[in-house]
């Protein structure tokens, strides 16, 4: 007989009391958030507000997947003090984030580790596509950020939805502004929604322009591999 997760103790209720009061959120949703392991692909200044958000919201485990070192530009963001410049981002981010909450396990991504959700804030389109495709193949919810100056876009991909390649931006954006947090916070919030309320959020894309976010459902591009498992091949017997 399987038992559900243990009720949240008083310390955890006190820690997350404010979000537990958000209409539509409750103990079961918080328990689902606490059970998730998030792989964060990219931990630069653009991604760092999202990482802070995820830790403060109480994800169970956060793996930082970033092979780069902290750059001077990163020090203008939320996570890294000037003294961290030159140190590995995964280590510096893990140390900074772990100090924010004793309820969240933060560590550099263990090679071969299997997450249950992914946040992609990769520095290049190729890396974003690769990470998103890995998450799609694993069947886990993922959100991809595309920073553009102090705004940008994000693509939310619950399992089975049109993939990131179907909904990504095709033009090159402007350089991201370190310290701008709205897009990253929106991405973290969207990933939490996918985790807390599985099966109720459609695939969608948000565009954040001059502080105003607009959302629209994503659509599968004709012939994209992400639809292969869902659409029967011509002439195939009904499943």
């Amino acid at each position: 007989m399987s038992r559900g997760p243990a009720p949240l103790d008083d310390a955890r209720l006190a820690r997350w009391a404010r979000q537990l009061l958000v209409p539509g959120f409750g103990e079961a949703a918080q328990q689902r958030v606490a059970a998730v392991t998030v792989r964060a692909v990219g931990a630069d200044a653009v991604a760092s507000p999202a990482l802070v958000y995820l830790v403060q919201a109480g994800v169970g485990r956060l793996w930082i997947d970033d092979p780069e070192t902290v750059s001077p530009a990163d020090a203008g963001g939320w996570l890294y003090p000037p003294a961290a410049v030159g140190t590995p981002r995964a280590d510096a981010a893990s140390a900074a984030l772990a100090r924010l909450s004793s309820y969240v396990e933060v560590a550099p991504y263990p090679m071969g580790g299997v997450p249950s959700a992914t946040l992609v804030a990769a520095p290049s389109a190729a890396q974003a596509l690769h990470a998103a495709e890995a998450a799609r193949r694993a069947g886990i919810p993922h959100v991809v950020l595309e920073a553009d100056a102090d705004g940008g876009a994000l693509v939310s991909v619950p399992p089975g939805a049109p993939c990131y390649a179907c909904a990504r931006s095709t033009g090159a954006g402007r350089p991201a502004v370190p310290g701008a947090a709205a897009l990253a916070a929106l991405a973290a919030q969207e990933l939490l929604l996918l985790v807390a309320s599985p099966g109720t959020v459609p695939g969608r894309r948000f565009d954040l322009v001059r502080g105003v976010a607009t959302a629209r459902p994503t659509a599968r591009l004709a012939g994209c591999a992400c639809g292969a498992a869902r659409e029967p091949a011509p002439g195939a017997p009904p499943g």
Partner: protein
């Protein structure tokens, strides 16, 4: 106040935990079921019934607690889940 209602003793908690724990207690019972919340005298005696009513539950009564002269009991009947409620 009400036979059969589950008692949730929150006299040692302060806001916002009083309402957080009341909400969680309401999550655990079915629509139409009742809970009896015990609160220490103070702001929570006003805020918990108000929040419960705001969330669509029925507040059936607020009265001093026989067992504790510094406490109050609030009887709440669970209402229908709000649209968009995460199960």
């Amino acid at each position: 106040m009400s036979a059969g209602a589950a008692v949730v003793d929150l006299r040692r908690y302060a806001c916002p935990l009083t309402w957080v724990k009341t909400r969680i207690a309401l999550e655990r019972v079915g629509e139409g079921d009742r809970i009896e919340v015990w609160l220490a005298a103070g702001e929570a005696v006003e805020s918990v019934p108000r929040s419960a009513a705001h969330d669509g539950h029925r507040v059936l009564g607020v009265e001093p607690l026989r067992e504790d002269p510094a406490g109050f009991r609030v009887l709440i009947e669970k209402g229908a889940p709000a649209p968009g409620e995460l199960a």
